[in-house]
């Protein structure tokens, strides 16, 4: 009978302990704590090296990764390019990596908050606004965020009073460096004017 046949190399299979599995389980716990606070999980030089290799391969344009990821304007500019290329997932990941390097980048938080709002992802939105409130206690964007939260899901806002709708803050429309939104909009209006003129003939 088959049941009586056992091959000798099987004896060791179930006794092995896999360090990597434990590390990932630990990662899962860390994730639930915060996506951006990874200092505890990144506790060995090997892991740091692995993270750096990953960033260098995934974002080859980010030369000198640590410093580049803390330059908010450059990160947003690159994110804008990625979004225009239809690679939003990558843009969001880069912004997440940037916040892991330097959590005090207000514009990046706001970008992610508005993105979660636009996608209608209430769970992610809640996670982000909680983290944002913790990071920036007194912030002028608070009423806007509350209005967005109320619009997304009234249960997210702890208030009885009725919130007035506010215009979308456009935190995901990036104004950086050479692509100044105001100047670009002026050109856009001029092009629309000329086009309307041609059509009106």
């Amino acid at each position: 009978m088959f049941a009586n046949v056992r091959l000798p190399w099987l004896l060791t299979i179930n006794t092995r302990i896999k360090n990597d599995t434990q590390a990932v389980q630990k990662t899962a716990k860390t994730m639930s704590k915060s996506t951006f606070d990874i200092s505890a999980a990144l506790n060995t030089p090997e892991k740091r090296k692995m993270r750096d290799r990953y960033i260098a391969q995934r974002f080859p344009k980010l030369a000198g990764t640590h410093r580049a990821l803390t330059k908010t304007d450059e990160v947003l500019s690159m994110a804008q390019q990625l979004i225009e290329e239809g690679r939003k997932f990558l843009a969001i990941e880069m912004i997440t990596l940037s916040l892991q390097e330097e959590v005090n980048q207000r514009d990046l938080w706001r970008f992610l908050i508005e993105d979660a709002f636009l996608r209608g992802d209430a769970a992610r939105f809640k996670e982000l606004i909680d983290g944002y409130a913790k990071q920036f206690e007194l912030d002028e964007a608070r009423p806007v965020i509350q209005a967005m939260a109320h619009d997304l899901s009234p249960a997210l806002v702890n208030t009885q009073s009725k919130l007035e709708p506010v215009p979308l803050p456009n935190w995901t429309s990036i104004s950086v460096g050479e692509r100044d939104v105001e100047l670009q909009q002026k050109l856009h209006v001029a092009l629309e004017t000329a086009a309307a003129s041609l059509q009106a003939r």
């Binding site: 692995m50 990596l97 100047l183 001029a190 092009l191 003939r201």
Partner: protein, 529 residues
Amino acid sequence: MPTDSAAQAGMQLTRQHTALVDVHDDLQMDVSEELLDDPNAAIAMALLELEALSRDNRDRLLQGGLNWTDGDRAVCDWVAGRYDHLSRIAYSAAAQVRKSVTSGAESSATIFGLTLLLLGHAIKWRKSAGQAADVTLRERGQRLYVSAAKRNLESTAFKVVVEREAIETNVEALFIRVLLIERFSSGNLSAKRLEILDTWMLASAQSTWLTRELREGGAIFCVDPTSQMRPLVPYQPGIVAPLYLPLWPFQRHLATIAHAFHVGTIYPGWGLGLRFRIEEHIGVMEFLEREFTLIEAVGVKKSKRLPVGGELVSLFTGFNDINLRALANQTTLTVAGVLGVSAAPTKFAAASSPSSPSLISVVNANIDAGAFTTFDAVQGAVTLLDVSETGLGLEMASDDAARIDIDSLVAVKLADHPACMVGVVVRKANVPKRSASLVGVKLLSRVPMRATLEEVNDRLARSTLQGIFLSGGSEGWQSDALIVNDAAYRANATMSVTVANGRFHVRLGRVLWQGPGWKMTAVHVSVAR
């Protein structure tokens, strides 16, 4: 010459291989004669034994990549053959369970699941060994899933051991894995990357499920477990399928996979992929992102095409021809209509009057543009077949169509449209039984505007550049673009241009699209007055 110890190790391995084949033969006999008390345990053990014996070889083969010897190929064939054989034995055991009415739910689900797991392994290793795909493997998986679904076992959770890791899964997740592995095996994913993707799928069984109701949004597959030809197809509007596989949960799971790399670990922390270079894992992420985008694009509702009864239109091809002739009267300098000053009727407008609805022929268009040169690319009549929100369908002589390439820039003048439109040829097809071709044009702009840009520098003689502005319309300033001649394109040069009543200094940004002789670029404004 091999050393004595190497020769002994080789002989021992051969003995182990032979012993394993014997074990499988015994198992097959026991299953066929229904002698096993617990077929689940026997097959699970056989899988463990096969994995344990072949692990080093599989690892070495996948690491080896293109440097395989004949011996390596033979070993890979052996591994693929073993998984195939074992999956057949498991399928026989599952067939007995299908007939039995006394088997418990978890026990039945486990044998179905083990068989599906082995079928997935067999499909994957056939691909790795360079063998032709065997659709009967997938068809067996389909039969098993249908059988499990009839017994309401598809979601029953059980544990299987894969690469020494116990994972909780169910029949549905393993069936989805069989379908996806078959799909990805037929593409250009390397064996190494297929292995990584497979491990991700097995480790994220909770992120894949089938639904009976369609919820549009994101990438979705239609699943028909009874279809022999196409059990898994990307969702398209109008298709009704028995089941749907939404991919958004797996897309979201990609963030978890990425997070593992962010904290310096390799997801999921087990499997042969642990030893692969980080580039391979990133390659799989990028592959999936592309796949999701492609599948989603199939599902985006195409704008409705309205037949227009075959009116004649004018067609211009090539940047210079379009810029000089088609858009002769469409420049960025015109603001008359908007400012309330009635513009004099243009030749195009006169030609498109109701009295001559279809007179805009190639010849007329040339006259309108102030040019009497012969029209090189398209010499015969061009007929408009249909119009949609985003494109046009044209019919022309096959000889003419042969002169236009895919990605060619074209301008089309319709009889009842005040402006000449600009688009790109995206498809061509011959009309059966006629010497005509259908040409699909994706519209870039309904009101393109030619402009002369002047280089801004300290020199006395400033060079100029001809361009065609495309307004982003309702999509906003992010979609504004400029088309320039391929040869004249210079990145980062600052140019001055007048648009309507404004003067702008602009730089040409990234190339957004390009074709023969033209480039479409983003526009960066640095000064606006």
